[in-house]
Amino acid sequence: MSLELVIVTPEREAFRGPVKRVVLPGSEGEFGVLEGHERFLCPLRIGEVEIDGEGEPRFAALSDGFADVGESSVVVMVDTCELAEEIDVARAERARARAEEALARLHEGTPESDSNFRHAQAALQRALVRLQVAARRAR
């Protein structure tokens, strides 16, 4: 286990530790990284990351950013990252309701490129991912 995973956000370091394998939500699809991966740089979309280390796998919700993969390290730089046990479910529920409402209001003939539309959609996605990740913690 000499793959080191570091997840940093602009405000803090969210995770640092040795892992066996990490699965990341790449913009072109999910991908797993093991030790000895070639140097690789890839944007990430909003989604969940799976961290396989010692014992049970851990999960975290990421918002967009990118991953810098090296031979023995993976550095994930994202706007926000919350480990499953850190997620505030009530807050995520409220965020989802808010985003759905905003989308419903916009729906009539708003082009997909509209920035409000995209913001609301991204907010909805973040909320859904958080809820999904939070649900993993129950197991």
């Binding site: 570091v6 940093v8 956000t9 602009p10 405000e11 803090r12 370091e13 790449g26 913009s27 072109e28 070639e38 140097r39 690789f40 740089l41 890839c42 944007p43 967009d64 950013g65 990118f66 810098d68 550095v75 730089m77 706007d79 926000t80």
Partner: protein, 287 residues
């Protein structure tokens, strides 16, 4: 000559002021510690970001980004002025606004147009009155700097830059040198300059997916946000440090004042007693 009661009252009032300044000093000290922690925890991301962007920009010379492009002629400049919401922090805001005025004067002297993005109530109060037409955006009421604030500012200035309304964006903020010194600093935010390519040669080049252009599109705006976040965090720490110093010297001044007033009070008391004694003695003599 003030009466004993007057002096007493004065001492009480100065004492109350002292309690306030002392409390403010302590609050500022606690907030300073938190602000410094925030700077430290923001550092890993900023450093990684700078390193990655530098490397990508160095190895992918053909891939450009609009926020990296130098313009031949600067016809308009956006100045992002970061001050604080509250006063009572010594010369902190004054120094910063003065520095901003210097930059404004430079623009005016060169015949360059300028826009102002103002952060903090003190910046708004001072600069809006003098240059009401130029203010393009204000951000006030920040109790704790968050990444979202940096994103909001970055969106605004990048929008103006891309739209061609300005050709250069400068940030004017207080650099947190130490708890005792904060110096106003001017940095160019846009067009962004990816730092250093020194590491590029050592490591094998990156495999980039889906494409370098796509990646830069994500990377560059984030790098701009990170720079703004750093300026906001430094300014936040600087404000608390300045307030701490200001309140410390205010507390010291009240101590001096209380000493002087107490001396005056005791003298007046002594004089009153002497006067009374004289009156009693001369009264007894008259009998």
């Amino acid at each position: 000559m003030p009466s004993l009661k007057d002096i007493r009252r004065r001492i009480d009032s100065v004492h109350k002021t002292q309690q306030i300044t002392r409390a403010m000093r302590m609050v500022a000290a606690a907030k300073l510690r938190r602000a410094q922690d925030a700077i430290l925890s923001a550092r890993p991301y900023a450093e990684r970001m700078r390193a990655t962007l530098g490397e990508v920009a160095a190895s992918q010379l053909e891939a450009g980004h609009e926020l990296l492009e130098e313009r031949e002629q600067v016809r308009a400049r956006e100045l992002v002025v970061i001050a604080s919401d509250r006063g009572l922090c010594g010369g902190f805001n004054h120094n910063l606004v003065k520095r901003a005025e210097v930059e404004i004067a430079k623009c005016e002297a060169d015949g360059i147009g300028f826009g102002l993005t103002l952060v903090g109530r003190k910046a708004v109060e001072h600069l809006r009155r003098r240059h009401p037409e130029q203010v393009t955006h204000t951000l006030t009421g920040i109790s704790q700097v968050a990444y979202g604030h940096a994103v909001q500012l970055a969106d605004h200035v990048a929008g103006r830059f891309v739209a061609g309304e300005v050709d250069e964006v400068l940030v004017i903020f207080s650099e947190f040198v130490s708890a005792l010194t904060q110096t106003p600093r001017v940095e160019r935010l846009l067009p962004a300059r990816p730092a250093g390519r020194e590491e590029a040669g050592e490591k094998p080049p990156y495999e980039i997916e889906p494409s370098p252009e796509k990646l830069l599109e994500i990377l560059v705006p984030k790098a701009v946000q990170v720079e703004l976040l750093r300026a906001l965090l430094e300014s936040q720490a600087g404000e608390q440090a300045a307030r701490m110093t200001a309140m410390e010297s205010a507390t010291r001044n009240t101590e001096e004042l209380i000493d002087r007033l107490t001396l005056q009070y005791n003298r007046a008391r002594q004089a009153a007693i002497t006067k009374e004694l004289v009156e009693i003695v001369s009264g007894a003599e008259a009998l």
